[in-house]
């Protein structure tokens, strides 16, 4: 049960933004701009970074929902998502994306963990400033979302089918603030 009185049966962050839509609005705007707005990184890559950071933070709700969205976006190559979550270094994603995921993993620990050498490594694989910026901010943002969702002990469904439906919705509709229950 959640630590505070949020709408019953509503999972994860949705229950929290329904409890407090005033903060929900900029949170959903941030997710929409960051994960669906203009970026040299594909939507699939951005969802994968989000799922990877959530995995490192042990936030099951965010990991499974964003992994589901990433699987939808990767289509025929959806196994990529599970490969990265199992062992990023052995996965078949590009070396450039690995270098970005490595930076994301460092941001997950703490900002100061990111060293000039990590940035150089990504640059040598053709990552540009915008891609590095977006990677850092996605990793930082999920270090927030994960803590928000778990810090209030919001409801985490366990049925994989529920996440599959969430992933489909996140892919088709993007991040739209849920309306409060009347």
């Amino acid at each position: 049960m959640a630590h505070i009185q949020v709408p019953e049966g509503v999972p994860g962050i949705r229950s929290l933004v329904m409890f407090r839509p005033e903060t929900g609005k900029p949170l959903y705007e941030l997710a929409q701009v960051l994960l669906r707005g203009e970026s040299p990184l594909s939507e699939a890559e951005r969802e994968l970074i989000a799922a990877y950071v959530s995995h490192l933070n042990n936030c099951m709700f965010c990991r499974d929902s964003h992994a589901a969205a990433a699987r939808c976006l990767y289509g025929d190559e959806k196994n990529t998502v599970d490969d990265v979550l199992n062992d990023m270094h052995q996965s078949n994603v590009s070396d450039k994306l690995k270098a970005l995921l490595r930076i994301a993993g460092k941001v997950q620990v703490l900002g100061t963990e990111v060293l000039p050498a990590d940035i150089e490594a990504a640059r040598e694989l053709d990552a540009n400033d915008r891609e590095i910026h977006d990677t850092v901010l996605i990793a930082a943002t999920f270090s927030m979302f994960n803590r928000y969702v778990d810090g209030l002990a919001s409801f985490t469904p366990t049925d994989p089918a529920e996440y599959e439906a969430m992933g489909k919705r996140m892919t088709e509709k993007g991040y739209v603030l849920p309306q409060p229950i009347k």
């Binding site: 505070i4 941030l30 990793a139 927030m144 803590r147």
Partner: protein, 183 residues
Amino acid sequence: MAHIDLQNDLPGIRGPMAYSPGTGKALNELAEILLHDDNNTLSRGERELIGAYVSSENDCFFCQNVHGAMAQHYFESDMQFIDDIKKNYQSTPISDKLKALLSIAGSVQKGGRFVTTEQVEQAKSLGATDKEIHDTVLIAAAFCMFNRYVDGLNTWAPQDRQVYVERAKMRAEDGYTNMNLNK
């Protein structure tokens, strides 16, 4: 020097916010509701203090000084008082309720799952409402983002701590949404 070319020489989070205005707008709107909006039973000073405390735990020089100076401004205290709270809030004369909320914020800083039912019950028994607990958790979580954004890109920060104190009054008046990043 920042890890990427931010195309400006603004300090701290203002650099990447100017570089990426789309995300900057959402981030400032979040800060406005959480820290500056007066429709809240936690005072602005209490909320800024939670932000400063979490930033101190995350060792983020820029954020802990910006928001420590904001708390100092609202509390009309000196810098030492804020430093004492960051270092060991239990030994300071702040309310037991605020101590209970800082304890929750400290757990959020480590990870969401570190928050215990006992901590939440303790805060509630000292009069904390659900909304106050919600805001405490979200402020702490948001600073785990802001701190990582600021340090993950290696932005620069003025080293003279008095600079932050001098800017606090203007920020308190303007708030975060109306922030002129270049001012």
